[in-house]
Subunit: 335 residues, 2 copies
């Protein structure tokens, strides 16, 4: 059986506060009282909570990171950085995989269950700003583009500019029929909307037509979706000479479809992705991509959450931007 | 501010038990009392906990899945199946990424913090059976080979037989100089030890010598480690004609190293992995591998945990075995 602070207090014949003082190492406890408490702790095999500091603040020392899907490697990689950044604050990070389902996102945004988590770093897919405004309580930092207009602190990258730059890279290489893979309905994905806008901006700036037939939707962004979209483009007869995939897993699927069609990358079709996941550094060919600074995103999110927890919880929401860079690899580099 | 059951009870002028009865939908509550409670709930914007069923049992409805690394895709894929299997029990699954660190594994094995989780599905890397025996409390199901001899229920696959079969597949194809990538010291990994044993068994059964020079260690099992180990084998002059990598990420790294060395897979060197992660179904070439039934592993683990939570917590630990199959793909299939 698992014992609690009050079991120790009862056995030692002291108040819960006194046990807490002993556990937290406070000096103003009489030596005989301290001895009684320590004896009770030993008898009950009581283990104090994670961290005295959290306890004193009435916290659990646990935060949650809520992401749609862990088998999108971008989120798995981000999770590692968040765990590392949170360690500096003595926080344990528990990860909630919401599946992008509105109901599970509501559960996590409500703090999961009473007092379970101190705060939340949250990448929502289904919840809206209105949903979040209706929830009280859990201090939260938002990641990404889904929820705008300030219901909570937020970390973003400039998706439009990044998408414009990686598309411009393809244009500079001489490509003119540049496809896009990953467009979505507005209610499906804000990242898709912003990346498509950047793609269109780059075409416009280069005087190229925006051709609907070159834009392939993908309601999910897994490898299989990228492969199917690429096959669709190849069989539709639009004949792209390059393709911008809105994430790396789509791009890895596209590479596979091009390979199966007997086309060479980058000689016949150049391919770029977005996210810089580890897979793309080892794929054949390696994948050119937009590399958001995931470590920085994690650090900024953890800092915003820490400031919110220790500071003014009613202060206006802050939005901070994390850097990114282009990683040019074999999929756009003619040998 | 977030309200609790007792705030509702105070405002309605009833006991906490009565509020709980209303929230849980019990019928034996007087209509006027029910109305008062419902009014108080509305005024306070009180949200009942996750599930009335959990509440009644004094539980949080939250379990944890603790794994070493989420950016090992095997664990990310397993996490999705655990989340799905747990949904049938109304559980929220929070995922703890321990990094394989003994201290974090102790925290999670202790239930993270008082009463935070009802139970734990746990793939330890550092903790031993002795460590776990010294911890009271949190009902737990172990995954994998690290902790043996029954301190808790466990789900395994037969690693030795699986490794023997995938090695025998290479032998059947006519390969004779079969390398292994991923061996580890005993304190680093039990999976490595069992897979190496299966590899050695297969060689012995075929009358082939076990050659130390063909066995490459890898203390971590990421792509970069597989690529480095493969490069090492190629430059050492041992000239393998096939390689068994102890997981798929090692194998994907090995594929990359072979590509960079100008060798064809499978014509010059055949490659097999272990885990059947999604990446290997889209890589160029696609990857032959051992495919543990991850969905079944997740279901068995969740069922064992449910039985332990609702049944006899002191009953002897059970061990159940999940199936696997060989997936033969392009990396061992000559076109």
């Amino acid at each position: 059986m698992r014992h609690r602070l009050k079991d120790v207090a009862e056995r030692a014949g002291v108040s819960v506060k006194t046990v807490s003082n002993v556990v937290n190492g406070y000096v103003h406890v009489r030596p005989d009282t301290r001895a009684r408490v320590e004896e009770a702790i030993a008898e009950l095999n009581y283990r104090p909570n994670l961290s005295a500091r959290h306890l004193r603040k009435g916290r659990t020392g646990v935060i949650a990171l809520a992401v749609p899907e862990l088998d999108i490697p971008y989120f798995a990689e981000l999770a590692r950085y968040v765990v590392n950044a949170a360690a500096a604050y003595g926080w344990t990070v528990l990860i909630d995989q919401t599946g992008g389902r509105r109901e599970q996102e509501r559960v996590v945004a409500s703090g999961i269950t009473d007092h379970l988590i101190d705060g939340l770093i949250f990448s929502p897919l289904a919840l809206t700003a209105e949903d979040l405004a209706g929830l009280d309580g859990t201090p939260m930092v938002l990641l990404g583009e889904r929820v705008e207009h300030g219901p909570a602190d937020r970390v973003v990258i400039d998706n439009v500019t990044a998408a414009r730059e990686i598309t411009a890279h393809l244009i500079q290489l001489g490509h003119r029929r540049i496809a896009a893979i990953g467009s979505q309905r507005t209610d499906e994905g804000a990242s898709a909307r912003l990346r498509l806008a950047g793609y269109a901006d780059a075409l416009r700036a280069a005087g190229l037509d925006y051709d609907e037939a070159l834009v392939a939707p993908a309601s999910a962004w897994h490898r299989a979706d990228g492969a199917a979209a690429m096959q669709g483009l190849l069989t539709s007869g639009v004949r792209p000479d390059a393709v911008f995939c809105f994430n790396d897993t789509l791009a890895l699927g596209a590479l596979r479809a091009l390979h199966e069609a007997g086309l060479r990358v980058p000689e016949d079709v150049a391919v770029v992705g977005f996210d810089d996941i580890e897979d793309g550094r080892f794929s054949i060919p390696t994948l050119s991509t937009v590399a958001p600074d995931k470590e920085k995103i994690a650090q900024l999110a953890v800092e915003l959450l820490a400031n919110r927890l220790d500071g003014d919880r009613t202060a206006p929401a802050k939005e901070v931007s994390a850097p990114y860079r282009l990683e040019i690899r074999e999929s756009t580099r003619t040998p």
